[in-house]
Point group: D2
Chain length 288, copies 4
Amino acid sequence: MAPTDDLPDNWGRWGEDDESGTLNLITDAVRARAASEVRTGRAVSLAMPVRPAPIVMGPFAPDTREVSPVQQLMALTPHAAQASADVMLVENHAVWTHLDALSHQALDGLVYPGRPFADSVTPAGVTHGSTTAFAAGVITRGVLLDLAADGPLPGGPVTGGDLDAAEERQGVTLEPGDALVLRGGRTLTENPPVPGVSVDGVRWMHRRGVSLYTGDIEDARPPLNPGVPAPLHKIALVRLGMPLIDAANVEELAAVCAELSRYSFLLAIAPPRILGMTGIPVNPLAIF
Amino acid sequence: MAPTDDLPDNWGRWGEDDESGTLNLITDAVRARAASEVRTGRAVSLAMPVRPAPIVMGPFAPDTREVSPVQQLMALTPHAAQASADVMLVENHAVWTHLDALSHQALDGLVYPGRPFADSVTPAGVTHGSTTAFAAGVITRGVLLDLAADGPLPGGPVTGGDLDAAEERQGVTLEPGDALVLRGGRTLTENPPVPGVSVDGVRWMHRRGVSLYTGDIEDARPPLNPGVPAPLHKIALVRLGMPLIDAANVEELAAVCAELSRYSFLLAIAPPRILGMTGIPVNPLAIF
Amino acid sequence: MAPTDDLPDNWGRWGEDDESGTLNLITDAVRARAASEVRTGRAVSLAMPVRPAPIVMGPFAPDTREVSPVQQLMALTPHAAQASADVMLVENHAVWTHLDALSHQALDGLVYPGRPFADSVTPAGVTHGSTTAFAAGVITRGVLLDLAADGPLPGGPVTGGDLDAAEERQGVTLEPGDALVLRGGRTLTENPPVPGVSVDGVRWMHRRGVSLYTGDIEDARPPLNPGVPAPLHKIALVRLGMPLIDAANVEELAAVCAELSRYSFLLAIAPPRILGMTGIPVNPLAIF
Amino acid sequence: MAPTDDLPDNWGRWGEDDESGTLNLITDAVRARAASEVRTGRAVSLAMPVRPAPIVMGPFAPDTREVSPVQQLMALTPHAAQASADVMLVENHAVWTHLDALSHQALDGLVYPGRPFADSVTPAGVTHGSTTAFAAGVITRGVLLDLAADGPLPGGPVTGGDLDAAEERQGVTLEPGDALVLRGGRTLTENPPVPGVSVDGVRWMHRRGVSLYTGDIEDARPPLNPGVPAPLHKIALVRLGMPLIDAANVEELAAVCAELSRYSFLLAIAPPRILGMTGIPVNPLAIF
């Protein structure tokens, strides 16, 4: 069932039916290490703030409006109730901070850990590898490797060597089960070239036992190697079963880490407890 | 500007424009106390799991379907991309675990701290007292008072005396800035009578400096006193500016607290970072 | 129950519970007159074409997009089915061609024919004066009065005298039960001043027995008389119970009428048969 | 490009880029014939009435609700405006009266008239064979063939012979360009067997020049011949390019035809003028 090429994978490592992927690496010892990072309770959000686009009807609406992953419609509530309510239309995979479920992506028609994509993702929802795996939250130690301490990264690959160097520079070591947070100092919607994690970088994560990846670096634009599947969204997510938090906002985190001279923290990830989705907005909190 | 009756309020306490209400009570010392609760990193979700209702088209759909606060529509994605995505329609104030923004309710036409409801809640969104106040997350110490340790509560009022007794029984003391979590062992949709926090209970919270309220006890059905505004949704939320997490799921929390003989924990609240809403789904995590 | 000022109204004319308003004027004789207009089957649409705004997720969506009253989401369908489907989110009262239900507007807290607005329009839908009245379609004779044959109208009032003059110029006479279609040659979203039907014009419609109003002229901007309710949306709709089709597109109609030297036709109005709405998109067809 | 088996098709008949299919058969002579049917202006709707499912938030909503193709959300409107508005979420291809666009279905990866499905139906909308072709309305002569005059049809095929017999019994003859309306006296959601048009019936339509098909008979359940594509949704729609109105309501039409002893009428089809959809709700009117 597992692929036979030389790219890394975890298919079968935790069983044929596993839906947790590298979250399996978060053991009691990992959580205790995370707990030991908490000293003051200071928390930093890794989420981009999103202003919803209001759905308002009437003759003089503007011709264009900001695109937002969230549209808000204020609901009529009974006058006597003196209450307000709203409904929101949410595009999970727009460019904002969200957690990709394992079956968000497939490769050669298969999702992690080797099941048919068409059986896992159906018109009625996701039957395998959905947000159900994250619904009770994820707690682990997070480590920021700030590759942009001396300025924004240019385009091109982020390699394992870059990550080794950052660990050494910052005096921090990623342990198995930790979440990796990378900072490149770029925004995803900038004009290319935009840097990206390379296959070598993903091998590094695999070797080191990263449980979850996030940051402001994703797959490069233009692709680093068009002949190879996207390192994060195809190799890490599909082959390693490593959940990804896309489009994180790590500017404030980097400033606080620099201020405290500490690059590790408890990372609390608590998406709304909605089952069966392909992805879900999330507000990861780094707690110091 | 502040009401002149003898019900408690915080209008003006933190300024005329304040949008944080009792979250102002969460000081560095409170957060440090919360931090000191973290030892193992074990986490418990206080959210009800929600299964979305799929929007599926076709001739043989069932005549009825479960009502869910979330509807999911699987989006067509390009075949070559081998990716899946979905859109969700979310009813923030349905019966599921969500955080009420301060302007979700008004009393006598005013929202906290005494501003006109009609100016704060508009067809284009909430301009004052919205989820913007919570968007970066809330970290504080949480304390569970389990009123149902000996069995589900009957209907009727939960008073300050009940809370004092629970503290004594459990050997825990709520400190200013803590979040209060109550358990009555009942579900909100049970047949009445369903118990509710009384005005006396809200006075207790005010006196003790509760920063945020949650649990499985809300305003009673039938109302405890039809001549008095709803204690939680009108007095605590509107007059005290105390955020409420409705419809929490505290069964697992109570079991873990009993197992550990500890009723306090770090409470991490991290709703999606969406601004300007009347409420937002949330997955509160109690971290031990 | 009926108002006591000197503005016209039909409250009570067809009973206290009436939901059809001036559609009651469409008798068998009116329909037969409409039928007699049909000779060739040539049809002209009076609807503005609407291009939906697609809901597409992905990293490189544009920063802004056209605002549309309709958003379209392509649904995932099973691969084997080789079928496509979509869901649309429709804003009924945006600036496009739609039919206003009678309870879309209220005046002094009342809707046609004198019922409380708050009882008729509820959070769960419209209980009185909704699209239910139009759901089986409306067939009557339509008459175009082209006030812009010599160029677009300036801002300001359209009076009964203007309508008399147009009838005489065109050699057509509006009969009781006919639908009136006005053309001013302006678009609703142009910069003010934009012309509007005056109270005098509405009195003319009342006197002549107009059953339904449409065209490219609505209530003026700026208002003709700020001290008087909007002639079409408050006096015609609420007091006369006259359905309005907002934002019609009458350019092609005017060209065909001029070509044929005929300003009357069968008007077929067939909105989707959806009950209980405040308004509904419609594609009125003028059939010659 | 055209298929080489012996099933009928119109691929190439009106060009490689045609989007109108059999609507091309509606000539001026056809419309004049339709016009000659109009005598009294009496109109009958062929649409099922739909009651929307309200989206209402609050603690005591029912556990289940009726499934509806339309969900309605009443929008907050400014109190001073005394106006109401709503938004509707519409599932075009649910079981209600809607018009299928030509690219709603594909066969062997191709849509009418032989173009790749994946190029025509994209995540951003339909680029070929969409509702754009119907947006200005369709006017033609309609002919009802009532196969259930003596009682509901059993399951099984509707053949060309059945249609010939109905014409003779009713004294009506379908002419090229007419729309065919069939009545079987069954509802689509009944337990199987439910009757369906056979390939032979579709050949009859092709031979006779039917421009559009509707009625209460669709493709049979169970399928008449699992080895052959669905006669209406794959052969008529995809190969002939014949638009289908699914789930019509022909009970009142049949009663009126019997009362008048006339089985032909002007058929006015006027869906909302929304471009680029896979299908669209419609309220077809038979005008006598």
